[in-house]
């Protein structure tokens, strides 16, 4: 672009090419107007004049091969793109390519007539011709006018040597570029709108290169992209066949700076796509009892929409997420300004998903074209029906690749991005600096990440802190993480240092000047805190971005506020019960927890096993449970078959969590058991997992409440007779429990029920160890805040002292919902029914009565 050092990657080139040119000029205009791009092509524009003064030779036969152009595009552009992903991102690379192409074009224009370059050599000429078939504009002549005309002025004026008067008959515009030259010589030329893809449903002379354009471009762009950018960025990227092949070849070939994985992804994409198309068509041709070539090139036109619409989905999404902003920024940057624009949408915004629908439209359209093109094959209906799925094998392959990509990304997740390809990059923050400006004080494998939270240090470098713990350096993303280790975890941190926002060097934190509450973004906190070595710098910062200057101890005190809502219980005394909850037990400032599914991964993907996470907590207030630290007991998890296993226990920020997978519908239980010679403490959590999209049957025996031999003391919730997967405890319901000690029911155990809103009820077990509670309604919110699916938590605590004085304590947490009778009214339903019945029934009766009445009156009058 010439404004700047052109060998460096810059955002303007990418934005201009991928952000504007690609989505709008190519991907969107093609299916709309067809080859209108050729009309504004600079090569063609100059070519018309060069050809006029040129040698006007006929192009040699070997060059009259459209595959030259196709191969130039697929290999010269796309294969190179995957091998050296950066090359076309620099203005220099792009300029080189265009210079070479321009020179080549001009030489060929000069030698040969009829703009032969456009037809055969231009890399996008054939591609545009092929995809132009889908457009809903048509260019042809008025038949009536042409039938009597013998002058062929139109054909003479056409720079491409075409015969426009034949377009309608051939159902094809051939290589027409919509240059409109012919319109100057004849008025019978017309430009009309037709149904989308109208041309492709007609019978026309098939062109081998066109079908191969569809297949190769589909392979080179959407499928290769899905391989190298979609699957290649998942966490299992190394398991993919192209990665393995690349690794295999890398053992004895040095690829240098070439991206071998990208190259093989591209090669496999081409191989698989071509194989899918060829094998499918071969089988179809056998079924149809037709020649392979005829079948392939007649039906192959069905693949046309796949690439163009899939690209539209991609291009539009990227336009809104980043390119729109990049274009503005790039323009400003070209003129030496530095501005920061927010894109229209964030990546992952739900409404962007609407563009994915283009992919499905593409598939549906492709199947439809295939159905229409089948008309041109003479075979019986049964044969056509059988051949149809085989002929569409490439379409199924395309669906398969797309689904496989979403499956892999959903199941295994996206790998951390290390470099930014395709102009997508994480939004840099005020506190971010480039990787080479970061000073890392800590050593080791994770040196570039925060010692406490694991976030990237470079991204939050300007708020970085560091300290020495037992002789080792620890570096933190912010004062938040430092405070967490120093104050909450009581780690003995020495020589605390902080980054000077101005010089980006570490300074002693105790002598630094902190600016609190400026308008610049904060790291892991609501209040931003930036440190400066000199007071003057701090004051200047305050002038520019507000806030106030304080010292380290004040900054630490403010940082501590982040943790105030997060109370961490240190020890467990004998009296306060321990229980499980599925709600994350502490609330960080500004970060409200979802009151809903707490840790429940709700069947995000049909193939993914749902899991549940529960925390071990304590405290009298169920709504604000406190984490339990210093856990000495054991954990057990049971599955639907009541098989016991030992779960993974994770401790983070002083809280202990257990997560377990729930592959089948049924009851899962988690136990925590702490035992010594004087007491037994048990906490239990029971969860019914039910996936109503599966056909699982409610097996009463399997669902029956059972204990496990590992627990000496247990409470079972006895299932009622008519319980099913759909049943849930509701208010007004009588819940039955049974208390067991060493698997035997015990009498006189104290059982207490506590609900979330403070209702409490005591009971004692009878001879059978049974006890029952009727749940009362104690959820009384304002009407407009009422939630009929509200899950009110309750804990059940059982205590028992045996003859030796050993104390048994046990908790069970569960929840119940408002009963239907709380918010549904039959009375009003009946009232409305009755009212409407009278109104409508009466209305119709009256209407009919009135229609008949005048008739009677006339008769009475007659009698008189």
């Amino acid at each position: 672009m010439g404004f700047y050092d052109s060998s460096k990657e810059n955002i303007f080139t990418t934005a201009l090419f991928w952000g504007l040119f690609w989505p709008f000029f190519i991907v969107t205009t093609l299916p709309v107007f067809g080859r209108i791009f050729c009309g504004i092509c600079p090569h063609g524009f100059l070519g018309k004049y060069i050809t006029n003064i040129g040698l006007k030779k006929k192009m040699p036969k070997w060059m009259q091969n459209r595959f030259i152009g196709v191969m130039l595009l697929v290999i010269g552009w796309w294969a190179v793109y995957y091998m050296f992903p950066g090359v076309y991102r620099t203005p220099f690379g792009t300029a080189m390519l265009f210079t070479v192409m321009t020179l080549l074009a001009f030489i060929l224009y000069f030698f040969y007539r009829d703009m032969s370059y456009c037809k055969y050599i231009c890399p996008i000429g054939t591609a545009l011709r092929a995809f132009g078939k889908l457009s809903f504009t048509s260019f042809s002549t008025y038949k009536s006018a042409c039938s009597s005309c013998k002058s062929f002025e139109c054909a003479k004026s056409c720079p491409y040597g075409l015969s426009p008067f034949n377009f309608e008959k051939k159902h094809s515009m051939d290589d027409c570029t919509l240059c409109m030259e012919c319109t100057h010589s004849c008025e019978a030329v017309r430009f009309t709108f037709v149904k989308p893809g109208y041309g492709i449903y007609q019978k026309f002379k098939t062109l081998r290169a066109e079908v191969w354009v569809y297949i190769l471009i589909l392979a080179a762009i959407p499928i290769s992209m899905a391989f190298s950018h979609g699957l290649g960025r998942s966490k299992v990227a190394d398991e993919m066949i192209w990665a393995k092949t690349a690794a295999f070849f890398q053992t004895f070939i040095d690829f240098g700076s070439m991206n071998a994985v990208g190259l093989f992804a591209f090669l496999y994409a081409v191989l698989f796509s071509a194989a899918a198309a060829m094998v499918g068509m071969f089988i179809a041709s056998k079924i149809l009892k037709k020649e392979y070539g005829t079948v392939f090139y007649t039906l192959g036109y069905a693949f046309a929409p796949l690439f163009i619409l899939a690209s539209m989905a991609h291009a539009w999404e990227f336009f809104f997420t980043s390119n729109s902003a990049r274009i503005v920024e790039g323009l400003a940057w070209g003129f030496g300004m530095n501005i920061d624009i927010d894109p229209f949408a964030k990546r992952g915004d739900t409404w962007l998903e609407v563009f994915h629908i283009f992919r499905w439209i593409a598939v549906a359209w492709a199947f439809y074209i295939l159905y229409r093109r089948m008309e041109y094959i003479e075979a019986s209906k049964i044969r056509k029906l059988l051949a149809y799925p085989f002929a569409g094998l490439l379409i199924f392959f395309f669906i398969g690749v797309n689904s496989y990509r979403s499956y892999i990304l959903d199941t295994y997740g996206r790998a951390e991005r290390s470099h930014s390809e395709h102009s997508m990059r994480a939004k840099t923050l005020f506190q971010s600096v480039k990787a080479d400006e970061v000073i890392l004080l800590q050593k080791g494998k994770d040196a570039a990440s925060c010692a406490a939270c694991g976030m990237k240090l470079s991204r939050f470098y300007k708020t970085n802190h560091a300290a020495i713990f037992h002789g080792k350096e620890r570096q933190y993303c912010s004062i938040h993480c430092l405070t967490e280790e120093k104050k909450i975890k009581n780690m003995n941190l020495e020589q605390i240092q902080v980054v000077d926002t101005k010089t980006l060097k570490f300074i002693d934190a105790k002598e630094a000047f902190y600016v609190l509450g400026s308008t610049k973004s904060a790291t892991m906190s609501e209040v931003s805190k930036y440190a400066f070595a000199r007071e003057k710098d701090a004051q200047e910062f305050v002038k520019a971005f507000h806030g106030e200057v304080v010292d380290f101890s004040e900054a630490l005190r403010v940082a501590m506020k982040d943790f105030e809502d997060m109370k961490v219980y240190k020890t467990v005394d004998g009296e306060t019960p321990i229980y499980f909850t599925d709600k994350k037990p502490f609330i960080q400032k500004g970060k409200m927890n979802h009151s809903g599914m707490g840790g429940m991964m709700h069947g995000r993907d049909a193939n993914r096993v749902p899991s549940k996470k529960v925390w071990l907590v304590t405290g009298d207030d169920i709504t604000h449970p406190l984490c339990v630290e210093n856990i000495q007991g054991r954990f057990f998890v049971t599955n639907v078959m009541n098989e016991v296993s030992i779960p993974k226990v994770k401790s983070k920020e002083g809280c202990t969590a257990i997560s377990f997978e729930m592959p089948k519908s049924g009851y899962y239980k988690v136990y925590y058991i702490a035992e010594d010679e004087h007491s037994v403490n048990v906490a239990k959590y029971e969860f019914k997992r039910f996936d109503h999209s599966s056909d699982e049957k409610y097996d009463k025996e399997m669902m029956r409440a059972k204990t496990i031999p590992e627990v000496p003391f247990d409470i079972l919730r006895i299932r009622s007779k008519d319980e099913t997967f759909y049943s849930r405890p509701t208010t007004g319901e009588k819940l039955q429990f049974k208390v067991l000690k060493d698997k035997k029911p015990i009498k006189d155990a104290q059982v207490i029920l506590n609900t979330q809103f403070g209702w409490q009820k005591h009971a004692t077990t009878d001879e059978n160890g049974s006890v029952s509670f009727t749940l009362i309604k104690d959820y009384y919110p304002d009407w407009d805040k009422y939630n009929k699916r509200f899950r009110e938590k309750y804990t059940l605590t059982a205590r028992y002292k045996d003859v030796e004085g050993k104390v048994y304590a046990m908790t069970l947490q569960d929840e119940f919902r408002p009963s239907r009778s709380e918010y549904q009214s039959y009375a009003y339903g009946m009232l409305i029914t009755l009212l409407l019945l009278i109104v409508f029934g009466g209305g119709i009766f009256l209407y009919r009565y009135r229609i008949h009445k005048p008739f009677k009156e006339v008769r009475i009058d007659d009698d008189k």
Partner: protein, 325 residues
Amino acid sequence: MMINKIFQKIQKADIRKFRFWIQLFLFVIFVYGGYVAIDVGREIPVFSCGYDREAGGVCYFMSLQHQLARPWERLFSGASLGVLSAFGVFILWFIVFNKAWCGYACPLGTMQDWITALRKRLRIPYSTYSEESFKSLKKIKYIFLLIVILFPLLIGAGLLDPEWRGGFCKMCPGRLITPMFVGDFSQWSIDFSSKTAIFLTTFGIAFTVVFFVGSFIKKRFFCFFCPMSAMHYIFSPFALLKLKKDGEKCTKCGDCYRVCDMQIWDIADDVKSRDILRDDCIFCLKCVAACPEEDALQVDIVKWAIFKSTKGGFAKRMGFEDETE
């Protein structure tokens, strides 16, 4: 010869009796199937309501609305396969029988036919729509279809209150009526938990009252508004079962129009179209049975005619068979 005889027999069959028993049988399957562990899936192209806990097969709109209400990032990625496969099953069910689902299988349709039978017993005359009101009323079903498809999508995009989940189901009379057959009256209540819930449940009750009153005085009253009928019509060109008319043999006597429960004018008046199926048609075949012209109307499956209008059949049904033979 044997086949010819069977074919002759079919032509002279009493289509009304045949239809009555098929309807009764399928009504039992769909409404009570759960008692004998019948489950034909959740993609059934008729209003076999899933709120009936013993349903032997569930209306496709229930699962469709449920599936489309997923968050968009899931709907347009992995979950779209689920939507497509369910849709595929729906299409497979549908294309075999075409709109015969309405006339022969729909429990809600069967109920309306029974109400009509009751009305006949009571010797109360029925009503019809005028041509103009017929034309405007029949559009309502497409509005309902839009609600079925668009509202869940809006929920998935986060633009609509999730309380609208299954919005059409809440409005549909099927939800209130079908469960009553297994003794469940719980749907006849107003839900006061939110404004949307109040609206939807009230609408449901009002629509049900209109359903009863309307179908009492107008044959197949609800079917004019049925979004499933609209959905059927979109895919009926691909169906295997076809209702065909030979315009050259038609004398425009109007017998077919008079027997048509759905007041389809084209059946008598249109002599150009070969495929005479219209969006309101319930494929009850009364028109074919009532047609006195040989081969003017016929029912095809793929390309074999299985039921044709014949002089002999007409004569038999009209009770003067002996005279013609």
